[in-house]
Structure formats: structure tokens, C-alpha cells
């Protein structure tokens, strides 16, 4: 059977048009039942975390709990604790250490000035620098205020690792994609608190839902001196620190 060029072109044109039309129709049908989480309505939440510096004892429970809950590879951290040692007046030069992310606690050492612990994690910024640089839409801000990574879509290009001003992202050596704190999305969407908050013995960390008018976070934010990390970068950080020292970077 011989096919003229005209026939071939017209046939292939028809097939292309038909398949795309069918695909569009299928998408339309599927979109009808895409949201399959009847119990969790993400539009009624706006997640955040509060950290009370005066309560952190540097025990490392949060770091261990996070690693266990999320399968964080050894040597990488979604949350970690830093120990600051600030000489009395040289605020620009604090001595900071974080042995193994604080996972095994902090060995006692002689201090020069004032010393305290600062737990850190992803700030779940409302205007995240990391989301802005992702070339493929693999990291994004969710309607409930989290910054998440789609590991199936991530290329591992590391743009976001560089863009995060807080150093909260790492490349998971198992998947070669970027990984970070999800604020335990799989827990908080089931009504639980995050693993780090669950394991924190002093109540230093508290999960907060800013859209819930009954959440004690509103009192906490109103009645205390609150600071976020690197406010000058206008990232819209949602990890609120009480009693944060000016030397903390």
C-alpha cells in the first residue's frame, strides 16, 4: 500500500488532534474527583511554629524524633539545634556549634559570655526564596502555608538549596532530590502535632495554626517579644521565636 505525503500529513494531523482532545476530555473528567481527603480541609489552616528560646535545653529530642519520623539520612537534618556563645559586647561574632546537629546533646564547654540554644528548622516562609527559584515547580507553597517538595518532580538542580537563607534544605543521597522539613504534613493533617513538638520535653516548640482563632498562638504572639530569623530578607517566615537574641543569624 502506498501512501502519499498529503495523506500521511492529514492522517497524522487527525490523530494528533484526536489524542489531544481525548486527553483534555480525560483530564476534565479526572479533575472532578481529584481532592480525595474528605477529613482534612487545607483551606482552613495556616501552619506556623513558635519556639521559646528560654525553654530550650538542647537535649536533641527534636532532632532524633525528626530523623526517626521522616527517615532523615545520617548527617543531614531537617531540624537541628545550635549552641550560641556570645562574648559580652561583640554581638557580631558569636561562637556557634552544633555537634551532629545537636542529636547527641551538647558536651559541656567553658563559655565566654552568654550561652543559649537555638533550635532551627524550615521557616515555611510565606514568600519563600526557595520556591521562587525552582525551575520546574517541584517546590511550592501550599494553600495551608507550608513549603513542600514534590520528590517525583524534583530534578536535584540545587537552586533552592542555595536560595534558602536559613540553610534548611539538603540533597537526599538516596533519592538525589532535595529534601526538607514538611512540618510533619503527614501528621498535622491527621490532627497530630509534629514529631519534634511531640518529643520536646519542655514545650519549647509548639505547632500553631494561625487560621484557628482559638489557637493559643495568638496570645503568645500578642503578649511576648517575638522575632523571626533574618527579618530583613522579608521572607515571611512563620517560625516565631520568643526571646531570640540579636546575635542569632
Amino acid at each position: 500500500m502506498s501512501t502519499s505525503r498529503r495523506d500521511l500529513l492529514s492522517q497524522s494531523g487527525k490523530w494528533l488532534f484526536l489524542t489531544s482532545a481525548a486527553q483534555a476530555a480525560l483530564e476534565f473528567v479526572l479533575a472532578g474527583n481529584a481532592e480525595a481527603a474528605p477529613t482534612y480541609n487545607m483551606h482552613t489552616h495556616w501552619w506556623a511554629m513558635t519556639i521559646d528560646i528560654n525553654k530550650c535545653i538542647g537535649c536533641g529530642n527534636c532532632v532524633r524524633a525528626c530523623a526517626e519520623e521522616n527517615g532523615v539520612p545520617k548527617g543531614f537534618f531537617r531540624t537541628w539545634i545550635e549552641r550560641y556563645d556570645v562574648p559580652s559586647w561583640e554581638m557580631e561574632h558569636p561562637e556557634v556549634d552544633s555537634p551532629n546537629g545537636g542529636m547527641d546533646g551538647f558536651p559541656e564547654k567553658p563559655i565566654k559570655g552568654k550561652s543559649f540554644f537555638v533550635p532551627k528548622l524550615c521557616n515555611h516562609c510565606a514568600h519563600s526564596p526557595c520556591v521562587q527559584v525552582c525551575p520546574v515547580g517541584a517546590t511550592f507553597e501550599t494553600p495551608d502555608g507550608l513549603v513542600l517538595v514534590d520528590e517525583k518532580y524534583c530534578l536535584g538542580c540545587r537552586y533552592c538549596v542555595q536560595a534558602c537563607p536559613y540553610g534548611c534544605r539538603y540533597i537526599n543521597p538516596k533519592t538525589n532530590t532535595v529534601d526538607k522539613c514538611t512540618l510533619c504534613y503527614h501528621r498535622i493533617s491527621k490532627g497530630l502535632t509534629t514529631a519534634c513538638c511531640e518529643a520536646c520535653p519542655t514545650g519549647c516548640r509548639t505547632l500553631a495554626d494561625l487560621k484557628n482563632p482559638k489557637d493559643p498562638v495568638h496570645d503568645f504572639l500578642r503578649t511576648n517579644s517575638i522575632q523571626v530569623l533574618k527579618p530583613q530578607m522579608a521572607t515571611g517566615s512563620k517560625v516565631y521565636y520568643r526571646g531570640l537574641d540579636g546575635s542569632v543569624r
Binding site: I57, F140, L148
Partner: protein, 151 residues
């Protein structure tokens, strides 16, 4: 001078080629862009569902209280009242699912020091001891009850 259909035939061919190209683009695009992309924004909407579906390791203190109400009552009298069970006992979601899986009891000689070992960076007023002076060779649990730590 009238423009006849015959005169515009070359334009029609051009239009057909453009239409084919557009259809090819639309077809390829719909094949390559994931189904839920753009549902909430410039990302795959189904990724949210996938992340939410991950299993939990820490059951949460409410789950513990369902069976261990005696311990919850005992803790109310002590300073450790607000500490979650899994802060000391570790992740117990598997035990909560299947209570026949017995968790190992934490060793108080190691456990208590995690929080109460003396450290200059700890907030003032937090009870701390230098374990090597305080209880050489003894486990904290020999004297203190972890659920009600006061002697």
C-alpha cells in the same frame, strides 16, 4: 479585482500547517504535564496528597492515654506532667497499632542525663545535675520515679 478562493489556497495550506502544529503542541503538552499540575498553583496538586499519606512513627500522647490512663494520672502529680510519653519512650506508633509489640524500657542512667546533665547553655532555673558527682554508678531510676521525679 476579486480575491477568489483559488488565489487564497496557499494561505489555507499555511493555516492547516499551523493548526497541525498547535494540535501537536497541545497533544504533547497534555501527555507530558502531570494530571494535577496547576490544580492549586504551579506544581503537582497530587503531591500534597502523597506527602499527607506517609505513615507516622510517633503515635502521639492521646494514643498512649487511651490504654495507659494510670500513668497519665500518676504523671499529673509530678513535674513531668506536660512531657509527651514518646519524648522518653521513643516512637511507639507500631506499639499503638499492635500492643503485643512490647517496647523496651528506657535506661534511666542514660535517659535522664539527656535533659538534666549540667550545661552552661541551659536556661537558668532548669534543674540540672553533674551526673558524675551526683549519682556515680547508679541509675537515676534507683531513687527517682521518672513519672513523678520528686523524691
Amino acid at each position: 479585482m476579486r480575491i477568489t478562493f483559488k488565489d487564497a489556497a496557499h494561505l489555507i495550506r499555511l493555516v492547516i500547517v499551523v493548526l497541525i502544529a498547535m494540535a501537536a503542541f497541545a497533544g504533547l503538552r497534555s501527555l507530558m504535564v502531570p494530571e494535577s499540575f496547576g490544580q492549586y498553583g504551579h506544581y503537582r496538586g497530587n503531591a500534597l496528597e502523597e506527602i499527607r499519606a506517609k505513615p507516622v512513627s510517633f503515635a502521639g500522647r492521646q494514643a498512649c492515654a487511651e490504654c495507659h490512663d494510670a500513668v497519665v494520672e500518676a504523671k499529673k502529680a509530678g513535674k513531668h506532667v506536660n512531657i509527651g510519653c514518646e519524648a522518653c519512650h521513643g516512637a511507639q506508633a507500631k506499639h499503638a497499632e499492635d500492643p503485643s509489640l512490647k517496647p523496651t524500657k528506657p535506661d534511666t542512667a542514660v535517659l535522664c542525663a539527656r535533659c538534666h546533665e549540667k550545661n552552661s547553655a541551659k536556661p537558668h532555673g532548669f534543674p540540672q545535675v553533674a551526673t558524675k558527682d551526683h549519682n556515680t554508678g547508679m541509675a537515676c531510676g534507683d531513687c527517682h520515679q521518672p513519672h513523678q521525679p520528686k523524691l
